[in-house]
Every structure is written in C-alpha cells, then in structure tokens.
C-alpha cells in the first residue's frame, strides 16, 4: 500500500477521494474520511479568510514520512492525505485524511494519528484575516498534547517488544 500525499491550492472532493480507496476491491471494511473545514469565527471574531503558508518540499517530505509511519503501525489498505495552502474562506475545506482498513480500529487510529501530527509537525502556518487586519494564529498547547500521546504509545510499544 503506497500512501497518496498531495499539497494543492485547489479544493478537494472528499467523497471522490474516499471512493478511490475502496474502488474495485472487497477487503475494505472501514473507510474513515476526516475533513478539516475553515470556521467562520476565530476566538469569537468573524473572519474573512485564512491564508496558509507552507514550506513546500519539507511539508511534502514530512507528511509522506508520517503517512509511511501510519502505514507501518496499522494494517491499512489505503491512505490519502491532502493539505491545501493559499487563501481559504469560511466553509471551504483545508485538509483531508482518508484511511481504509478491514476493521475500523486501524482506520480510526491512523486517521487520528495523522491529524495530530499534521497539526504540530507539518510546516504550515495559518494567518487569519478579520476586519481588524491580519494576524498569525498561535499554536495550541492542546494540539501538542494530542500529538505527544502517540509518542508515549510508541515508547510503550517499543518497550513491550
């Protein structure tokens, strides 16, 4: 199974991407589709748009590395990660993770692992545009904690072996 990783300016179609992973095979029993969407407010203030800046080569390498790690840790039959960059308005999609597996546990866990990593390790930065101007969104401690729990599990897993 080779993960698909795409960085693009254009919106994606989550349904089409999910269907591709289950197409022409009968071993997929679980198909998880996570779509991150641009909210219309940030800290209670209405926003006009988000602009995502990224470090192109590193973003692709970093996501591919984590996609490969997910494929290594869980029994996946398919994996697609798409991350958009550029200007994105409220209601538009930002990020997509699709995982396919025979049983749901692997697909759920791998999708959550990838999203936690994308939040804290993939080189993307969100700038928010409101009536009062533009500002960079600060990283959230809760996202670091969410990503950190996978490290703990990895260490426990390695210690058990």
């Amino acid at each position: 199974m080779t993960p698909t990783v795409r960085l693009q300016r254009e919106p994606f179609d989550a349904g089409v991407e999910a269907a591709k992973l289950a197409h022409a095979r009968d071993d997929v029993g679980a198909l998880i589709t996570f779509t991150g969407v641009c909210r219309g407010t940030e800290n209670g203030e209405p926003i006009a748009a988000l602009t995502l800046e990224h470090y192109p080569d590193m973003a692709e390498a970093e996501i591919a590395r984590h996609a490969a790690e997910a494929a290594n840790r869980w029994s996946l039959l398919g994996l697609t990660v798409i991350h958009r960059y550029g200007r994105i308005e409220p209601g538009e999609n930002i990020v997509l993770v699709v995982t396919a597996s025979s049983h749901r546990e692997a697909a759920f866990a791998a999708a959550e692992f990838l999203m936690d990593y994308l939040k804290t390790r993939a080189p993307f930065w969100k700038q928010v545009e409101t009536a009062s101007g533009k500002s960079w969104i600060a990283a959230k401690a809760a996202d670091d904690a969410a990503a950190g729990r996978w490290e703990v599990r990895r260490r426990e897993h390695e210690a058990a072996e």
Partner: protein, 85 residues
C-alpha cells in the same frame, strides 16, 4: 560555510525576506548559535529572533533542536510553531 537560509510566517515578515544565502563563520556551531549570530546582524534580525525559545528550525528539511550541529547543512529554515491541519 555558505548556507541557504529560509524564513516562514512571522519570522519571514520580521526579517523582511523569505530567504538568503549567507556565509556563516566557523565559530557558529549549532542551530542555537546561528540564531544568536543572526540576531546580531541588524534590527530586523534582532526583532525576529528576540524570543528564541518559540522559534523552530529545520536542517535540510527535517526538524532539529537548538543544540543540533549545523555542520554540513545546505538549507536551514526558521519558523514559528506550526499551525497546519
């Protein structure tokens, strides 16, 4: 050592350019040393690197820590904590 430096998000805005190639003195050994050296290059650099604890770095497009040696690096990037996803 001649290295390509790249800056992203507010680090880029404060430095005032997305990238540059600089000749780094041999006395600069680690990523942390490099931030200290850059901060001494002018007002805009001092501003960009005033709070070094929050700035993240990558060497040749892999995450590194401040104590990582820069020897052999071709590209070093500085940026704020990431907010993707």
């Amino acid at each position: 050592m001649n290295v390509r430096l790249r800056y992203f998000a507010w680090v880029r805005e404060r430095v005032g350019k997305p990238e540059e190639t600089v000749e780094i003195p041999a006395s600069v050994a680690t990523v942390g040393d490099l931030m200290t050296w850059l901060a001494s290059r002018g007002e805009e650099y001092a501003y960009a690197f005033e709070n070094r604890n929050v700035i993240r770095a990558a060497i040749n497009q892999s995450h590194v820590r401040p104590e990582t040696a820069i020897k052999g690096a071709e590209e070093i990037a500085f940026f704020p904590p990431m907010t993707g996803g």
